[in-house]
Every structure is written in structure tokens, then in C-alpha cells.
Symmetry: C2
Subunit: 608 residues, 2 copies
């Protein structure tokens, strides 16, 4: 099984083409501007000295790398000379500052080179990993190999330090990332040494004497157990999912069944116990981490943007290992919810943390002490963060979103996602005509495909499939309907019922107790005070009522209305008479579009 | 109007007599033992030097003072030679260490006398206040005036420093307490200077240049506005209520209508927007403070023991200013819930923080990082805290609990609380025979009382009153039924319907959304996992079902059972089918008795 690369696909129109255009024409420029303003590009020359403005931070290389990767993905389909020139300059700066021994890290070279490879938490290997991903992407897009050469030389150094000399004070990276990057580089170069180094880092984790460091518990960096004995998702979510991605890659590339079992069990642990309805993971800001099963608070949800993206990428790798739609379902959950909510509709601003509930009045709750930290997420997106991992991660994610469409082996093409698009690879052509997620109808034309496996989304209980006009009566197997195609060119029409549906969260989720959510297709809905002039928390939705839907240009999809009731305001804190209610209509918008109209209360879950 | 002192009352048997006995025979000895072990008693001699164990803390004097006050209250009704001797030793240590100029503070004298009166936050005046309260109480109980003399001398010093010389770096205490203590001393001595000093501290607050200090916002210490412009409860709850107590005292003693209006509005702000059903206040651990209206989270409730007690004392002072049962209702709410929950049933251990919900599985939520602080309250009571303000506060509160029974003026005796008791003052005798709160029947015999005003509790909608056997048909006025007594000796029988009732919290309280609580009389009920083998959060109570009640020796009151249903366990996090339920019985215990059988989940609010 392999992924059909997004480079083989052209998004044609509609929902995702619009997002891609916004990222290509707004977001990636905005990130460039903010990275320039904050000194991140200048820092690459490693000329910063004490007293200068814009002191380089240990993860700045990775910010730039993800932005380069984003640009590379955009250049695959269209020319952006200004961006390409900016990337070339950045790469020149990196190449000219690389040390003779191959080492490169703008922060360490500028500030304290003598301390390199002494602090496991300090993101050196993490930055290297992102630069490798950028190098591979930029080479693929442009054929330019300067950054690739830099990174191959750097990897010689890393291999010597970690595998040959073991001269670093630690064995495995404190923040995983280089492992999955090494797989990408191996895929490009076929150089087994990269796979070996990846395996070294993965296999050494939780084995050596570095299970605890810097007072941070070993679970935080998935160092509590050897990876083949890890069966639950633990610790810092981005670290975790980047590791799981590499574990899944290795399981596939090395036929490692033990790793496969770990990956499967960890994935199931996430989606059955530790994932928000939005695809968000990591419910606690402390450690940006997975916590205990069913601990999914809405108001204080951490649900970092990068973590949701990493979950989608982990799921993508799992689709290569097992034909089960739970993986693509999870990707879809991220795509239309936590993935998209992380960027503003205009493409300019980003969420690092994606709350599932906003109560604006609580923002003032701790003002009696000005020296305490705020413990609630921010309520509006920002153009830049000090820790700016998320913005360029989101741009690379959306710029390569078509990567999630298909996987294939010799016989079967799996259709995991639905986007208006045209795809060509080998002698195969597949096109999708659809306004998904605004409509459940998809017209697929497939040429030279033997078997097409189409995903029946988890949210859909009623659908029809026709093959060349004839209705198919096929039951899904693990979420896919397998359609044998005998003609050279085949027309497949899917029609998924996309009526709004009530979602019942598990009764073990404390914050959802007695409440329901609303989805329409893959899109989770929320309500904002901006549209609703009553206490959202107290609204009781009539789960038997019909939803009204109306297309919104602003959101690029439908907004909904549903009937229910609200309590007539009581004055007392505690009273003995049962509440009285009056009818009310709840107006809902897609969650991914929340907080695009100023600060407002927001709720996903409602009493019923 | 005046309070009928608890020293005029003998609790005879039943609920409160048992509590009083436990405090007298267990708690106060336990506090003495722990204070001895932790060096608090030794510290009074001011001989601690750098390197010694048990470094004195700035609030240790106040811990000892509250313990002395507790002992004094106990000595009012029975002899405890061991306790009295321990108090005498403590007072000797204080007296012999008092400086020639009158100053006494064990921490400052031992550690950094040169810095006295330079740090507003450092509790010097707070400790002085508690020592004044102790001095008054111990003089009243024993006639011994050594501590009283010490404190009167100390007050000369304080008066000179703050009023005459203004040589301190601040004008008002960072933690209020001395103000209310000065009123007590004024009541004992009739020395106007003490009332003047109280007024000086109260009137200067929020006026001078010390509105902000130490990076702590001025609201924290109620210094954001002059007191007559304060109309909402703000900041650190204990600080706040101690201030409000003094404000109410001054309003009464100086006929200050502006202060009265502030007190009334602040009190209403608390009980209508900022009070837990248990009488707890201060929902945030950050600043141990009042927050915004309706912000009453259950799981992370701070609800400090001292704060609830202070609210009761504030309410008690308000009963002298306005004949409205909301004050005594609030006292009752504290008495039977947050007040009692703060001490274990065996009297040995204490809660500083009183959560309204415990989810034991969440205690592990942040273990991926060992260097982060726990953000949930402890789940079991402790015998001592580093900051041990609560234990001796609870003992003095319960030791003087009969202070809440009556107030009177020339014509009317107000019966605010119901406890089996005998009271004598002037030519008046009143006795109550009752097993309240286990039964709503109270037989009162009153001698030489012109008018008896009996409180109809807020939780009671059905009651009867007889006077000398004849049924009275009297409507309450602001919660009191006024009964004119023409005979010398009168027998009044009250019968309050004490059936369990469902309480509907205001829909603006986020954590109670869609949920109800259960009370029986003044007692709030909760359920623990210890008694219920299912997910308490998911239980839906049938609000139409009859409650079953059974007397429990362990709790000294009734435990309850009620029917309802629980969802049959679903595996998925999010599903489309409506939940299925099975019948279940919820066993409930009084909230004040929670966490007396080991660590367990606990809930007060239930879906319905």
C-alpha cells in the first residue's frame, strides 16, 4: 500500500480549493511576514550576539522549516516567485552557516555552541527533523538540492554523534520528529542508513537510562516504556503522534508486527477514550498532553492545532497498514473541525489552542490577583505566537491536504476523502465532482482502476452507490465498499445523506454530561452568542425537531437552526420550584468558523 | 439589637451537643498536639534562630490565638485543666517576649525585627487581631487578664505607629481581622479609642496610596475602592468577610447608613451570585477569592473552610441590622454543610478546601509532567496544614456555635437557629427540645419573653406553629413569624416539614447545567462511589420519585435513597443512537460527612 501523493492531484473547485487558495495567497505570505518581523529569517545566518534584538529560540529552525515545506507544496501546483526567492535566501543562509562538521542549529551556533548535544529537551534533533522534511519537499518541488545536501551532511554528523561515537549526553530526541523525517528521506534516497537511524531512535526510546530528565516525567516524552510495550497514548501529544507516525512507518517498512500492534492499540486508545469530537487531542495544557481516559473538558480544552494535525498524519500512515475506515474517519474529523478551526477564515490568524467552549464572563474570574496566569484559552486567533509551531504546520497541512485522498496497491484504490479534484498517477485517472461537505453527492470517474474502495463515512447511516448508472447493493467491509470496475472508464456516484444529526457523547465525559452535539456530515456545529441572544449553556435542544439549514458564503458551508427552549431567568441561586421554559431557536455555525466575528461565548454541547 | 451570647446557652443533647463534645474532647486537643509538634507553641518565646527547626511563619501567632479562643469557649461550660494550663503557658511565653514598646509578633521578633511594619501583606495586624480576640475570650472565660494586658499595651504601640506617627510603610492591614477584633475589645472595655482605631483602618481602606502592592491587585484585599463605595464582594474571601464583619459592626455602633447600604448590597451579591449551595464562598484557588457572578465550579471549588465560617459571622452581624431571615438562613446553610464538612466526623482532621465534586480518576490527569502542580483539591481531610488557619477556626466556630441561636432587643427575641438547648439571660429563659436537623419538630418554652420571632427556614414550604397548644395562623414577615406571648411561661411548638426536596440551581451556573441537588431540611446531600457502584455523573434522578430515608449513627442524621436511571455503558466516545438506560438507586449521605470512608468519587448535582 502506498499513499497517492497530493502532487498527483489537482483540487478543482469548492471547499478545499478555496482553503488551499487562501493558504497559498494569504497565510503563507502572512507567516513569512511575521517570521521576518520577529527575526526568525535573519537568525538563520547565526550572526545573533548577546544584546541584539530577536534572540533566537531553540525551535526557530523548525518554524522556518515548516514554512519552507509549505512553500514547496504550493510550488508543486503553481509558481510563486516571491516565495521561492525567499526560500532560496533562507536556504542560502542555512548552507553558509552550516559548520564544517555538518552541524546546523541557528540557536546553538549563535548562542552556545559548546553546549550542543547536551540537553535532550532542547529540540536540536527536532529542528533537524523539520529541516529534513523541508529539504525533501523543496527538492521534490523544485529539483533544487542545496538544502538536501546540507541535511545529508548534517545527518552524517548526527549519525556519528549518536550511533558511532555516542558522544551526546542523551540517546533519543526529547521531542520526536526526526524519526518520521528520516523515513521521508529514505523514501526519496533509498539510503538504508536513514532507515537505520530512524530505527535506532525509535528502538532506543524508553530503553536507555534517560527515562527521566529535567524533572519532566518520562511519560511526557513517551520514554516510560520501550515502544513495543506502549499500548496507550501518553504524554505530550505532538511528541507522541510524531513518534507514532514513525512507528507506523517502521512497522510497514520493516514488517514489524510488534510495532504494528502497539500502533493499533495506541490509535484505538486515542479515538475511543482521548479525542474530542473535533478531532482534537491533548485535553490538558499542563504538558500539552494526553491525560486519563474520558478527560475531555470543553472550557479548558488544550487541543493544540499541531496535535490534531499529527493525529491525522498518524491515521494516514495507519491506512497503509489496515483497511479500516476508522483511520480515514479520524482524518476527516480533523480536516473539517480542529484542523480548519486552527486558522481564521481569512487565512491570516491562527489558534494554537482550540477551545470547545468559550464563556467570556469567566475571562475575568481571576482578576483579583494580577500576578496569576490565565487558565483559559485565548478566544480569538492571533497572527503570531512566541512559540509559533502551529501556523506553518497548518499551512503545510492544508497545502498538502490532497495527500489524504487516496491510497492504493496493485489492485485497489482506496477513496478515503471526498474533494472536488482530478488525480493522475501511473496510468490511472480519477476525478471527483462534488460540493462535499456541503452536499453528500460525489461523482467519481475512474480510469484503469481494478477495484475502487469507497469509504462510507462514520456519520452516514443512509447512502446509495451507483456504478455506471446501476444501483449497487454492497455492504461496507470495515467501512469501505469495494467496487469491482470492469470497464476502462467507470462512473461511480455516491450519495451520502448529510442531514444534521444529534451526537450523543459518552456518559463518562464529565463536561458533556446530559448534553448532545450536532453534526452535518463531517462538520461539527457550534453556537455563538453573536447569533443567539440567550444563555447558550441553558438552551435545551429538541432532539426530535427538524433542522433548518441555509448556505453561508462567509463560512463556505451551511449554517443551521434548531428549536428548543431556554429557562426563563430565575433570580435565585438555588430554588425549589422546577424551572420554567420558553421556546427559543438556536442558530449554529460550523465549529471550524467559530471566533471569526470577535470575542463571543461559544458552545458545542447542549442540554436536551 | 444584640446577640445572646453562647455563654448564656447550654446545648443539651443531640446533633450540636455531639459536635461540641467532639470539638472539646478531640479536635482542640488534636490541634494542640499538632501545633506543639510543628513548633508553633515554642515559637511564641521568640527564641528561634537561623538553622533551628520549625522556622516561625508570619501567621503562626494567629493559629495559636484561634486555638486559645477555642479553649476559652470550651472553658465557658466545662473545666479542662490540661487545656487551660497549656493556654496559660502560651500566654506566659507571649507576655515574656513582648517588647518594651509593646510590639509582639513571634515571627518578626525572631527573624527580622528591623523589618516590622514594612510589609502590608505580612499579617502583623492580622495576628494582632486574632490575639485580641483570644485575649477577650480568655478573659471572659477565666477572668485572667494577662493576655488582655499584653494586647492593650500592644494596641498603644499600634495606635502610635498607625494613627499618631504614621511610621509604618502602609496604612491599612493587608489581611483584615484586627478591625473586628477591636470591636470585640471595645465591647468588653468600652474604650472608645479601640472603636476609633477600627474606624481608622476601615475608613482608610481603598483611600490611600496603597491600592496596589506586591504585584497583587487591589481587589484582592478590598482596597480597590473606599468601603462605602464597595457594593460587590471582591477578592480574597476571608479578608473580605472579616472586613464586612467590621463594617457591619461599625454601621450598627456608629449609625452609619452608608456602611449599612454597602453591607446589605455586598451580602446580597454573595448569596444571589457567589455562594455554593453548601454555604461555601470563594470559587477560585487563585487568590482564594470571589470571582465573577455564577462562577461556581464544583470540581475545582476552593470554598475554603475559613471563608464559609466568616460568611456566617458576617451574616450574624447583619441579623443585628435587619430582621430578614436571609441572614440566619445563610448561617444555617454554612452550619450544616460547608461549616461541618470542614472537620472529619471523628473530629481529628480538617479540610482547608471543600470540593463539591470529586472524580478520583482525574487526580492522575497531569502525571505526564511531574513538575506541575495539582490543580484539584485534596480528597481527604488532613490533621495539619502548613497554612493551618482553618483547624483552629473551625474549633472556635463550633465551640461557640450557640452564638447563632438568638438575638434580642427589649421586646423581641429572635430564634434564628434550632438546637436542643437551654438559655438564660436577664430574667429570660428559653429552652428548645428538638432533634433538629433530624426532625422538624421543635418545642420551645419561653419565660418572660414579650415577642418571640421564629425563623421559617428557606427550605420549608409547609409548617405549623402552636402556642400553648393552639394553632397559630401567622404569616412570616421577612422570614420570621412574630408570636406575642402573654403568659409568663409559654410553650411554642414548631413543626417544619423536612421531607427531602429537589433543588434547582440557577441555569447560569455552568457546572450545574441540567442538574439538580437534594436537601433534607438544611442538610445538602451528596453521593459517594463507596455507596454507589456506577458512574455518579451519569445518574439521572427521577425528580418525582419518593425518597427513602434511614437514620445513620455514623453521620448522626439520615441517609437517603432515590430512584433514577443510569446509561448502559457505551463503548464509543461519540455515537448517533440515543442513550439506553437501566434503573438504578442512588444512595446519598449528608455532604458534611463526605470523604470519611477513604478516597472516593463524590457528586452533589445530578442529571434529571
Amino acid at each position: 500500500m502506498k499513499i497517492v501523493s497530493f502532487t498527483d492531484t489537482k483540487l478543482t473547485d469548492g471547499f478545499w480549493k478555496n482553503r488551499l487558495d487562501t493558504v497559498s495567497n494569504v497565510s503563507v505570505y502572512n507567516v513569512l511576514r511575521r517570521f521576518t518581523e520577529t527575526g526568525r529569517l535573519d537568525a538563520l545566518r547565526c550572526e545573533w550576539t548577546q544584546g541584539d534584538a530577536n534572540e533566537p529560540h531553540i525551535f526557530w529552525d523548525s518554524d522556518i522549516a515548516k514554512w519552507i515545506e509549505s512553500v514547496a507544496y504550493i510550488l508543486e501546483s503553481e509558481s510563486h516567485p516571491e516565495l521561492e526567492s525567499a526560500v532560496d535566501s533562507a536556504i542560502d543562509a542555512i548552507a553558509s552557516s552550516q559548520l564544517v562538521d555538518g552541524y546546523y542549529n541557528c540557536c546553538y551556533i549563535s548562542k552556545h555552541l559548546d553546549k550542543r548535544w547536551t540537553d535532550r529537551t532542547d529540540h536540536e534533533l527536532y529542528c533537524a527533523g523539520h529541516l529534513i522534511e523541508a529539504a525533501v519537499a523543496y527538492f521534490n518541488a523544485t529539483g533544487k538540492r542545496k538544502l538536501l545536501d546540507v541535511m545529508e551532511k548534517y545527518l552524517e554528523h548526527i549519525y556519528n554523534v549518536f550511533v558511532v561515537d555516542k558522544s551526546a549526553t542523551f540517546t533519543t530526541p526529547g521531542h520526536e520528529e526526526i524519526e518520521l523525517a528520516l523515513v521521508k528521506l529514505y523514501n526519496l534516497t533509498d539510503n538504508e542508513k536513514y532507515l537505520e537511524l530512524c530505527k535506532f531512535f525509535v528502538d532506543s526510546r524508553g530503553v536507555s537510562d534517560e527515562q527521566e530528565y529535567n524533572g519532566v516525567a518520562h511519560k511526557y516524552s513517551q520514554s516510560h516504556l520501550p515502544v513495543r510495550e506502549q499500548f496507550t497514548a501518553e504524554g505530550h501529544c505532538v511528541r507522541a503522534c510524531y513518534l507514532y507516525m514513525a512507528m507506523a512507518d517502521l512497522a510497514r517498512l520493516t514488517d514489524d508486527d510488534e510495532l504494528l500492534i502497539s500502533c493499533k492499540r495506541i490509535f484505538d486508545d486515542i479515538i475511543s477514550k482521548k479525542m474530542y469530537i473535533t478531532g482534537g487531542i491533548g485535553s490538558s495544557g499542563r504538558g500539552e498532553a494526553f491525560t486519563v481516559p474520558y478527560d475531555l473538558p470543553n472550557l479548558t480544552a488544550y487541543s493544540e492545532s499541531c496535535a490534531a494535525l499529527a493525529l491525522a498524519w498518524f491515521a494516514q500512515r495507519m491506512t497503509l497498514l489496515e483497511a479500516d475506515s476508522k483511520y480515514a474517519d479520524t482524518i476527516e474529523r480533523v480536516l473539517y473541525n480542529n484542523g480548519l478551526s486552527s486558522v481564521s477564515l481569512d487565512g491570516k490568524a491562527f489558534f494554537y489552542v482550540n477551545p470547545l467552549e468559550i464563556r467570556t464572563e469567566l475571562l475575568e474570574r481571576n482578576t483579583s490577583q494580577c500576578n496569576t496566569h490565565e487558565n483559559l484559552p485565548i478566544t480569538e486567533r492571533k497572527e503570531v505566537f512566541d512559540c509559533s509551531c502551529c501556523p506553518p504546520n497548518i499551512t503545510r497541512f492544508i497545502a498538502s491536504v490532497a495527500d489524504f485522498l487516496y491510497t492504493c496497491d496493485d489492485d485497489t484504490v482506496f477513496v478515503h476523502q471526498y474533494m472536488a479534484s482530478e488525480t493522475k498517477f501511473d496510468d490511472i485517472r480519477i476525478s471527483q465532482k462534488t460540493s462535499y461537505p456541503n452536499d453528500g453527492k460525489i461523482e467519481i470517474v475512474a480510469e484503469n482502476v481494478k477495484t475502487l474502495a469507497v469509504r462510507i463515512p462514520y456519520w452516514c447511516s443512509d447512502y446509495s452507490i451507483t456504478l455506471n448508472g446501476a444501483v449497487l447493493d454492497s455492504e461496507p467491509i470495515y467501512g469501505y465498499v469495494y467496487i469491482d470496475l470492469t470497464d476502462e472508464v467507470n462512473s461511480i456516484e455516491l450519495d451520502f445523506d448529510m442531514s444534521p444529526r444529534i451526537v450523543y457523547p459518552n456518559s463518562k465525559i464529565r463536561d458533556c454530561s446530559g448534553k448532545v452535539a450536532v453534526v452535518k456530515g463531517p462538520v461539527v456545529y457550534c453556537a455563538e452568542s453573536t447569533d443567539n441572544n440567550f444563555n447558550l449553556m441553558a438552551f435545551k435542544v429538541d432532539t426530535t425537531a427538524e433542522f433548518t439549514s441555509e448556505y453561508s458564503e462567509f463560512y463556505g458551508t451551511y449554517v443551521l437552526s434548531v428549536e428548543g427552549k431556554i429557562p426563563t431567568a430565575g433570580e435565585q441561586l438555588y430554588s425549589f420550584g422546577e424551572e420554567k421554559y420558553e421556546p427559543a431557536t438556536l442558530k449554529m455555525i460550523p465549529y471550524f468558523g467559530f471566533a471569526n466575528r470577535g470575542q463571543t461565548d461559544m458552545e458545542i454541547y447542549f442540554l436536551h
